[in-house]
């Protein structure tokens, strides 16, 4: 009965979502204003906070089912009841977390429609069909979530069905990330959308933009990491506050699993990030440089610091586990731990060394610029890739060492296997370094396509060979020292908290990076941000918002844990949409208790909780401080240049204007490249000005379907993008004749041809618009 009631409430809540698309369709398509502002805090900042908090909580909501499902499978496979219990404990969170995220999502959406009508109108026009899909997915996800959640009890005997439900839930959850990702990635890397195609076809074309899948994969992995580390932090705090040995053992173990899953996700994450970065660079060099070498380069130094904290924290936790959980292991593992620590620190030192150093003018004069002659070599990509790979290797070895600790292999081939593994590891390390150093001496493209990929493959090879090999070795191994749970020192708990905070902080940071890399564009190169918030704030201010968003997320997550784990158990209703009322009710009820003067609690729990909070705060404050110490630059939108026929005196002027239009308003460069490009979705226009007459180019632009030039053949496999050539003098692009002429002049210039368009052909403002028929041109 209760379950039915819940589903009813949920669906009535979901009703809101049905309204959204129709509203989005009606209102913003003819917006009366482009922007609305929020006093004092500003519309951009409101959206920033809500969007980021929603996104991270969404990541949590989508990461936890993966986490729970994996735990359940492990539980079924190993028959270890603890995994099943933990899966259930985390699924309990989901209902509250899910609804909180949905609420934030709805707020986010309403705010976007209210504050950014121009952008939302534009997006709704393109993505309308996907909104319906999204709502359906949302219902699917909600339904499977509730069934999976309640099935922990009711489907005890039918684990197979329950696991299948969990699988379905994760499929829905994955799709629910993938669809909005297409909206967000379209903003960063839009593709051209021809007019006159069906709404579904248009939406599909827009979804399939170059960074869609790199972001999907990156976010999926990051969600697993987030789920793992939040589990770890929860376990860490619970461990610190534990009242008895049994609780201590359970939460110690849970912390171990959380850290393990977090690290498990962390290892492939840099590879996914590298892929994403590569796609961005390829999509648009300017955006790639903004991120890595330009305005945002300092953000990536801060990111390196946080990732450093994460890697050190994860390894420290493994090492603490070895020395505390396995009695007598300390002496044996001291040397390898020291070696790993030194390698990690050296790698971090390289990773954090920026290309352009923070130096006073005096220091810069001594160095001859802000590149250090010796250490400057650490600043480039080859070095960063190398140390990232080494750090992954070391962390993986930490885990393997932990896994093997306290056991003695008995298999006959153990000795051989171990020496093979050692040789492999040494070889892999050397190979990664050799490739890294060699990378300085080869063209960038060879390094990116072959060397970096090889480094990644080498490390992945080690990961996939060592894991089964070690598993096989340990199957027959004799345990010499049993692992003792519940003996970890307090600092292990704080490390888990620190790692969770770092992961969230990293997510808020990358959110800013993605948004700021678009510069002053809502949709890169297509829809300009003309609001007063078109600039990107400096890192200090941005760092404050990142820390604030992290804090809000942490507070909300802690709140959900508190509701679910402590009191709400007695009030099941509070685990649904009323959960946010719980604290006020409890507070109100407690008012009557207070005069009675209950005895003070003896527990030391709150003290540890306060300290965990202080740890989190400490990191956030330190981060904000550092973000304010690095160079502060605001990225302002560039000065605006209008097409002014009076300014065009020579053919070179005309070509210069054409260059601006080709890469700007005309959106030509969204598909076409000048010169070969992997990311080009249309014919390469290099030399086109020499191959075709200006009349032919003009016709191709204004009547693209009239005649297909036979010499154009796509090399290789035909691309799937329905990148049909739009009619360039009609909406949505709508270039004027003047603008088309200047583009032709630019294309002729780029082909090394004499420009055949003359400035006198440009329609002056006094003349009528359609005055120059192309056929009569000389």
């Amino acid at each position: 009965m209760k379950a039915i009631l819940k589903v009813f409430f949920l669906f009535s809540f979901l009703g809101l979502f049905w309204l959204v698309p129709s509203w989005a369709q009606q209102t913003p398509l003819t917006p009366s204003v482009d922007y609305r502002d929020v006093p004092w805090i500003g519309s951009r900042n409101v959206i920033w906070i809500i969007a980021q908090v929603h996104l991270v909580l969404g990541g949590f909501v989508l990461g936890v089912p993966i986490f729970a499902w994996i735990c359940e499978i492990i539980g079924v496979l190993t028959k270890d009841q603890r995994y099943d219990r933990m899966a259930k404990e985390f699924t309990n969170l989901l209902t509250a977390a899910f609804e909180m995220t949905a609420m934030l999502g709805a707020t986010f959406l309403f705010l976007l429609i209210a504050l950014y009508p121009k952008l939302m109108g534009y997006l709704a026009d393109i993505f309308l069909p996907t909104y319906y899909v999204y709502v359906l997915l949302f219902i699917g996800s909600t339904t499977t979530l509730y069934l999976y959640w309640s099935g922990f009890e009711s489907m005890k005997g039918r684990k197979g069905v329950h696991l299948f439900l969990g699988f379905l839930l994760n499929v829905f959850a994955l799709l629910i990330v993938v669809v909005p990702n297409s909206w967000a990635t379209f903003q960063a890397s839009p593709v051209v959308l021809p007019g006159g195609v069906g709404v579904w076809e248009k939406a599909w074309a827009a979804m399939w933009n170059p960074t869609w899948w790199p972001v999907n994969i990156h976010r999926l992995i990051a969600n697993v990491v987030l789920g793992g580390y939040i589990c770890g932090a929860y376990a860490g705090i619970k461990y610190l506050m534990a009242q008895n040995a049994e609780e201590r053992m359970h939460y110690d173990w849970m912390g171990y699993v959380g850290n393990f899953i977090g690290v498990f996700g962390l290892l492939p994450l840099p590879f996914a990030g590298y892929w994403l970065m590569r796609e961005i660079y390829q999509y648009n060099q300017a955006m790639g440089i903004t991120l890595m070498g330009g305005f945002l380069s300092w953000l990536f130094i801060l990111q390196a610091m946080l990732i450093g904290v994460l890697f050190l924290g994860a390894n420290y936790y493994f090492w603490l586990g070895i020395t505390y959980r396995i009695p007598g292991a300390e002496v044996k593992y001291k040397k390898p731990i020291l070696a790993m620590l030194v390698v990690l620190l050296l790698c971090l030192g390289v990773w954090m060394t920026p290309h352009s150093l923070v130096a006073s003018l005096e220091e810069a004069r001594k160095m001859g610029g802000t590149h250090h002659p010796l250490l400057g070599v650490f600043g480039v990509m080859s070095a960063k890739m190398t140390v990232a790979n080494l750090m992954i290797l070391v962390t993986f070895m930490s885990f393997i060492m932990y896994w093997r600790a306290g056991k003695v292999e008995t298999a006959a081939w153990a000795k051989l296997a171990k020496s093979v593994m050692n040789a492999l590891l040494a070889l892999a390390g050397v190979a990664v370094i050799v490739l890294g150093v060699w990378g300085y001496f080869v063209p960038a493209i060879v390094r990116i396509n072959y060397f970096s990929t090889s480094q990644v493959l080498i490390v992945l090879f080690v990961l996939v060979t060592f894991t089964p090999l070690t598993a096989a070795l340990l199957k027959s191994a004799k345990t010499t020292t049993e692992m003792v749970w519940g003996r970890m020192p307090a600092r292990a708990g704080y490390v888990l908290v620190l790692n969770a905070v770092t992961v969230i902080l990293l997510m808020t940071m990358m959110g800013y990076a993605r948004s700021a890399s678009r510069g002053h564009w809502h949709i890169y190169g297509v829809l300009e941000d003309t609001s007063s918030y078109a600039y990107s704030p400096a890192l200090g201010e941005a760092g404050f918002f990142m820390a604030l968003n992290t804090f809000v997320v942490l507070a909300l997550v802690a709140f959900i844990f508190w509701i679910v784990s402590s009191r709400a158990v007695r009030h099941p209703a509070f685990s649904t949409q009323y959960f946010f009322l719980a604290p006020f009710l409890f507070w109100a009820v407690s008012l009557f208790d207070k005069p009675a003067g209950s005895a003070p609690r003896v527990s030391e729990g709150p003290k540890y909780f306060r300290r965990a909070v202080a740890t989190a705060f400490g990191l956030l404050i330190a981060f904000t401080y550092i973000a304010n110490q690095v160079p502060q630059t605001i990225s302002l939108p560039p000065k605006k240049v209008e097409f002014d026929p009076l300014q065009i005196k020579t053919q070179a002027d005309l070509a210069k204007v054409g260059q601006g239009i080709f890469f700007g308003k005309g959106q030509c460069a969204l598909c076409h490249s000048i010169g070969p490009s992997e990311s080009a979705r249309c014919p390469d226009l290099k030399g086109i000005g020499a191959k075709l007459t200006r009349e032919f180019i003009y016709e191709s632009l204004t009547q693209p379907q009239a005649y297909i030039y036979q010499d154009y053949r796509h090399e290789g496999v035909p691309k799937e993008y329905p990148a049909r050539m739009p009619v360039i003098n009609k909406n949505p692009i709508g270039l004027t004749n003047n603008e088309i002429f200047s583009v032709i002049a630019f294309l002729q210039q780029m082909s090394g041809e004499p420009i055949s368009v003359h400035p006198s052909e440009i329609t002056q403002p006094a003349q009528t618009a359609a005055a120059v028929p192309i056929a009569h041109a000389p």
Binding site: M287, G293, F295, W319, L357, E362, H371, L374
Partner: protein, 238 residues
């Protein structure tokens, strides 16, 4: 002050001495931001390693705490302890003083050497075929227009370079043109220092706006000559 404690202290001090005094014997001195970063990493490493087990902690922090609390400490050590206790507040005071006093140093400038190019330049490609003649012609233009500052050896140390801050780019450095596409160089040569965005501090750059004096074709040839002469390859996507 013996045993496990001495190692981390020596290590940290050693790292500092090497970075600060030994390294400058071979190369340019490191900026303090970098020294601080490396020392912070060393200290982090020491803290991690010494807190891995109770024994290790006791070995390192025990003597420190006993020393600080003055328990069982006598003679010269007691004097050292008192000295430290006096020194610490003074150090904090000095730090506070130097951070509140009006700075004697000009504001730190952190110029982005390679800011993002404007969109209309990012997608260009070199229309001039890469033939030996064109590369030679480019080297000729380079010698005439660029080498006074960027140097005949492409190392940024031309005879006219000395007075400029920031110094002319060193093309032999793997962190400059080897990371960039030809179109980026085209933008930088064509629009010159004044074409940079704010983060590139255009007001400080002495790079001429070559579009005033050179044809696009010459600029493309210079780019080819420059890569060839500096033994670098442009970044491409093929």
């Amino acid at each position: 002050m013996k045993g496990p404690l001495i190692k981390p202290l020596v290590l940290t001090g050693g790292v500092y001495v090497v970075l600060k005094f030994v390294l400058p014997l071979f190369t340019a001195p490191l900026p303090s931001s970098l020294i601080f970063l490396y020392i912070a990493l060393t200290v982090t490493g020491v803290l991690i390693f010494t807190t891995l087990s109770e024994q290790a902690m006791e070995g390192v922090f025990g003597p420190v705490f006993r020393f600080l609390s003055g328990e069982g400490v006598g003679g010269a050590m007691q004097t050292a302890r008192l000295g430290l206790l006096v020194l610490f507040p003074l150090l904090v005071g000095w730090q506070t003083y130097s951070s509140t006093v009006p700075s004697d140093h000009p504001p730190a400038e952190n110029r982005t050497i390679h800011p993002a190019p404007p969109g209309e330049f990012a997608g260009l490609s070199n229309p001039i075929p890469n033939t030996p003649e064109n590369v030679m012609a480019g080297k000729g233009y380079y010698a005439a227009y660029c080498s006074p500052c960027h140097g005949a050896k492409f190392d940024g140390k031309g005879p006219a370079a000395g007075g400029f801050s920031p110094p002319p780019a060193n093309f032999v450095d793997p962190g400059t043109i080897a990371m960039l596409q030809e179109s980026y160089l085209f933008w930088r040569i064509k629009t010159g220092g004044v074409g940079l965005s704010t983060e590139g501090m255009p007001w400080k750059s002495a790079m001429p706006r070559w579009e005033v004096e050179l044809k696009d074709e010459q600029i493309w040839k210079i780019i080819m000559g420059e890569y060839d002469g500096a033994h670098q390859k442009p970044r491409t996507w093929e």
